[in-house]
């Protein structure tokens, strides 16, 4: 067998770790390796995975979107609020989506035209949207789903066969994102923009439009994830904005091997990252490890994955990109 350590990309390392953990848990934890549990496992990380795909699109285009959680929480909560206030389901959804897209486009404009660093533009729009939501759009922190919304509720609670809707929606998002990124001109341009924006512009790619588009997509996915959460627990808690969820999303993306310097990666990386997190969380919950310890163990394993990658692919001063933090 031709063994070569450069075969171990970060993606493969993470996948291997996930595989090992999966085997260990299957053998040692009763009830881990069952169809039902694996579906629950997928289900519990499907929202994280969907958000991860949105983030991946932006990261591939050499950006980052810290406003995703705010968009997810506020736009979906507003949808529920509008429904409570007597709007029809259709118009409430349309307005909520518009709200999300508005923030996405605003992110894009600020980053592409005003040239504010993505980190700050999206940080600020996130804080802004959360504040706007809390002060004017929403009555309370937690907005409940009104009774009897029919099919709408099925988005979060329903299932097709043994598969819960969120898992199916995760798969659909994966396929659509994969298609957009690898089979459309827009998607290829995102890679070009992320790899080298200046070169992309010189070759005639309208990078400002592309950047705006990628943030709009991320916001759309954020809204979508928000609706899944809202319908699945019958409420949206906008306080989720204050949690470390955005870091989890970034971790899923970066862990799977999508570099923050842009231009590299695909949907597959997100899936790998999501799987590792899912297996870890599920296994630890079965073992009834406290949430705090779960966090600790999870991050130690993540750290291990990054270190392993660095040991196998050391960066040296010659290849390190300036400003690549």
């Amino acid at each position: 067998m031709n063994f070569n350590i450069s075969w171990f990309t970060q993606e493969r390392i993470v996948f291997s770790i996930a595989l090992v953990l999966f085997l260990v848990f299957s053998l040692s934890l009763s009830g881990f390796f069952s169809v039902d549990n694996l579906i629950v496992l997928m289900r519990n990380v499907s929202v994280l995975g969907i958000l991860g795909i949105g983030m991946a699109i932006v990261v591939i285009g050499r950006g980052i979107d810290l406003s995703m959680i705010a968009v997810m929480a506020v736009s979906s909560a507003w949808t529920l609020q509008l429904m409570q206030n007597g709007y029809g389901l259709g118009s409430a959804l349309a307005l909520g989506l518009m709200c999300a897209l508005a923030i996405g486009v605003a992110n894009g404009l600020l980053i592409a035209f005003v040239e504010i660093p993505a980190l700050f533009a999206t940080l600020a729009t996130g804080i802004f949207l959360y504040g706007l939501g809390k002060s004017t759009m929403l009555d309370l922190d937690v907005i409940y789903l009104p009774e009897n919304t029919g099919w709408f509720e099925e988005i979060g609670k329903g299932s097709i066969g043994p598969f819960p809707m969120p898992v199916i929606l995760f798969c659909i998002t994966m396929v659509v994102a994969w298609f957009v990124l690898s089979r459309t001109r827009f998607g290829r341009f995102i890679y070009g923009t992320g790899d080298n924006p200046l070169a992309a512009r010189i070759t005639g790619i309208p990078i400002r439009i592309i950047i705006t588009g990628q943030y709009a997509m991320a916001s759309f996915i954020g809204f979508f994830a928000g609706i899944i959460i809202a319908t699945s627990v019958s409420a949206v808690n906008t306080r989720i904005f204050h949690s470390t969820m955005i870091y989890d999303v970034i971790l899923v993306v970066v862990l799977g091997g999508i570099g923050l310097s842009g231009g590299k990666g695909s949907v597959r990386n997100v899936v790998v990252g999501t799987l590792l997190i899912g297996i870890l969380l599920n296994g630890m919950t079965i073992m009834d490890i406290q949430f705090t310890y779960q966090n600790f163990i999870k991050s130690l394993i993540l750290l291990g994955a990054i270190i392993l990658d660095s040991v196998l692919h050391p960066r040296n001063e010659e290849t390190a990109q300036q400003g690549d933090i």
Binding site: E115, Y130, G133, I250, E317, Q322
Partner: protein, 707 residues
């Protein structure tokens, strides 16, 4: 019309246009936007909040600021080194509970607990530093993970020991002082912060480790190639960041004694915002302690102010988001466009009205009538020398000329065919003179006043003069020392043509027509330097009069020769010698018959003279037209003039075709010949003088005949 002229003249005399460009090009102007924001926020809050300026409130603010500021300093340091430390908030929380548990759970005394916590902070930072510096992990991702790890440790600690950790207050005066004390109304924490800020500033801007950090942040690869220990330095920035954060946590613990679970959570966002708002760039290489201080102050005042104004949580987030966007947006645009603005406004023409130029045309009857006498000039070193602005000869008939490559070339032999590099200086040597000991003193463009010993050894005389307190551009540095001469008592008078432009862009000064130049005196006996005359319009050639009691100097764009008395009854006075030349005067040197030679580098044109009275036109030109198309004074054809002490023109030498000697910036008489230099020539010219003393050597007229 006359009143309109008077108005224009007054406007350009009293309104300091040039200051705008100079202000903008200051490095601290990078912080202009943050400063304005800070002042605005503080002003708004003091007007809108009752008792905001009361000592108690300012003290409370100071306490809060000390903690926050320390953490911003920590983050700033890491960012300047090209990294980022997101784990800072978790480290803060961890150090906080470490401090509380040491004193509350384990009963350690303060003198042991505080250093222990600082060491603990250093260790936490060292984990980051080791991973990022030595293992070369990515800073963003790594500190993101350590953020979660440290936070998890905090949570685990609190879950198990919350009650013990936070149980009871330590009754200790020292502890109360740290948390709640002050010296002369300055809170204890703020004192520590200020001391550390000063140390940090000195370290970062004046010491080797600080420069290393800046270098690594600016260009990691170059720093590595330059031999800087990149790994160790990066690691150390994180260690220091850990210590500063731990110190902030100690003050926090002393102030509140709270082991709350959300201490420090989300702190990284505020701190990062503060650092960037202050002007520390993400990615490294740009930043300072002052920027960190300012950014920290803005963020603290804004967030605290919104709580104080009783703003509802949502509205304050809303406002914070908008402020953040505006501040960063304006800052980004400002940094990006500042240089464009400088380029547009730095050239600031002023009003200069010259009398009508005497005509040099044939038959005009003026002493300047053209002739073709320089046609017989022969070339020395043709094509082998570039830019001999000045030439000088010694007793042994060696000819010295500076070049644009930064050398002084020595020509020797009967026909100067032997050529060797006499000295390498590094900058373009301009005017030259021999001192009594035979050292060759020279003004070096961009460097200052230097000397070359007969052995060829180069030494510095001065590169600075006294600073004018009201100047914006640092005028203590010599930018464009031009020509010099030495008085019998060992004073070197030399001209600095302009203090607003560098060596390579001196022609731009011609567009301004303002007195940007000065004459400086360097005393060879005491080695002291001071500025003698300011606000001269491109002072250029300098020559000590034969009696040694005055110096003659030329103002190039002012088209005049003046005399400055250094001795005698008129000492310190300036009087005109030739008030109105037909061209732009350059170097002045003595002639063998007791008069002076003067080079005119170019001739005036009515167009440019007119343009000098139209500053608005020239400004528009500088802003809108490409530099290649600008209207410049003619510096292509000139002549050599001989004049006497009274300023009367005695002789004129022209080269009409400009073939033998295209440009003349200086001339030196030596043993019956005149040697000509030109700053853009590729030769030194040699012209045989009729009726000149064939044994006269220039140095002798200064220091007497050498035996």
């Amino acid at each position: 019309m006359a009143s309109a002229n008077a108005f224009t003249r007054a406007r350009y005399k009293y309104f300091p246009d040039h200051l705008i460009g100079e202000l903008l090009s200051k490095r601290w102007m990078e912080s202009a936007v943050p400063t304005v924001i800070l002042v605005g926020v503080f002003g708004y809050l003091s007007l809108n909040l009752p008792h905001y300026l009361s000592p108690i409130n300012l003290m409370d603010l100071g306490r809060l600021y000390a903690e926050f500021g320390l953490v911003v300093l920590a983050m700033g340091l890491v960012m300047i080194g090209g990294g980022v430390d997101l784990s800072i908030g978790s480290m803060f929380a961890l150090c906080n509970i470490a401090m509380l548990s040491l004193i509350n759970m384990f009963g350690w005394p303060l003198w042991a607990a505080i250093p222990a916590v600082l060491v603990f902070g250093a260790a936490l930072g060292a984990v980051n530093g080791f991973l990022i510096g030595y293992l070369k992990l990515r800073a963003f991702l790594t500190t993101l993970v350590t953020l979660i790890i440290y936070r998890a440790i905090v949570d685990i600690g609190l879950m198990n020991f919350a009650v013990e950790i936070s149980g009871g207050f330590l009754e200790s005066e020292a502890w109360d002082f740290i948390g709640d004390g002050d010296i002369f109304g300055i809170p204890s924490g703020l004192i520590a912060f200020l001391i550390l800020a000063v140390i940090g500033h000195v370290m970062l801007s004046r010491t080797r480790p600080g420069w290393h950090v800046m270098a690594i942040g600016g260009a990691r690869r170059s720093a590595h190639n330059a031999g800087i220990a990149v790994k160790r330095t990066i690691c150390l920035t994180y260690v220091v960041s850990g210590v500063l954060t731990a110190l902030a946590a100690v003050f926090f613990a002393a102030r509140l004694g709270s082991a709350g679970s959300d201490v420090g959570s989300g702190m990284e966002v505020g701190v990062l915002t503060a650092a960037v708002l202050g002007g520390i760039s993400l990615g490294g290489g740009r930043g300072s302690v002052a920027k960190a201080i300012m950014g920290g102050a803005i963020v603290l005042l804004v967030t605290n102010g919104m709580i104080r104004m009783g703003m509802e949580g949502g509205s304050s987030s809303l406002a914070l988001g908008i402020i953040l966007l505006f501040a960063v947006g304006i800052d980004v645009k400002w940094l990006k466009n500042r240089y464009k603005i400088i380029n547009k406004v730095y050239v600031s023409p002023s009003y200069l009205e010259l009398p009508d130029a005497p005509s040099p045309e044939k038959g005009s009857g003026t002493p300047y009538e053209v002739n073709d006498r320089l046609k017989t000039v022969t070339a020395i070193g043709l094509g082998t020398i570039e830019g001999p602005e000045d030439v000088i000869l010694d007793h042994n008939d060696n000819l010295f000329a500076g070049t644009r490559h930064g050398d002084i070339i020595k020509f020797s032999g009967p026909n100067f065919e032997t050529q060797e590099t006499f000295a390498h200086i590094g900058g373009h040597p301009l005017g030259m003179a021999f001192d009594p000991d035979g050292n060759l003193l020279t003004c070096v463009g961009g460097m200052g006043l230097y000397g070359v010993k007969p052995s060829g050894e180069v030494y510095k005389l001065t590169d600075e003069t006294n600073r004018t307190w009201y100047s914006i551009n640092d005028d203590s540095r010599l930018r464009l020392a031009d020509d010099l001469d030495i008085t019998p008592d060992g004073q070197v008078y030399f001209s600095e043509a302009t203090i607003r432009y560098e060596m390579h862009s001196w022609p731009l000064d011609s567009l301004e027509g303002r007195g940007n130049g000065r004459i400086i005196c360097h005393d060879l006996n005491t080695n002291k330097t001071h500025t003698v005359i300011r606000d001269l319009i491109f002072p250029n050639g300098i020559c000590t009069s034969f009696d040694g009691k005055s110096i003659l100097f030329a103002e190039t764009w002012g088209c005049s020769i003046s005399r400055y008395w250094i001795d005698g009854p008129k000492r310190g006075k300036v009087e005109p010698v030739i008030p109105n030349l037909p061209g732009y005067p350059d170097n002045i040197n003595r002639s063998s018959d007791g008069n002076y030679w003067l080079a005119l580098v170019g001739m005036r044109t009515p167009t440019f003279d007119l343009a000098m009275t139209m500053p608005a036109f020239r400004r528009k030109m500088a802003r809108r037209v490409a530099p290649d198309e600008w209207l410049f004074p003619n510096i292509n054809s000139g002549c050599v003039i001989k004049f006497n002490e009274a300023g009367e023109i005695l002789d004129v030498l022209w080269d009409l075709g400009g073939e033998n000697h295209p440009m003349i910036t200086s001339m030196r008489e030596h043993k019956g010949h005149l040697y000509l230099g030109g700053i853009s020539n590729n030769r030194v010219g040699r012209y045989k003088l009729e009726n000149a003393d064939p044994d006269w050597v220039g140095i002798d007229s200064y220091w007497g005949k050498k035996s």
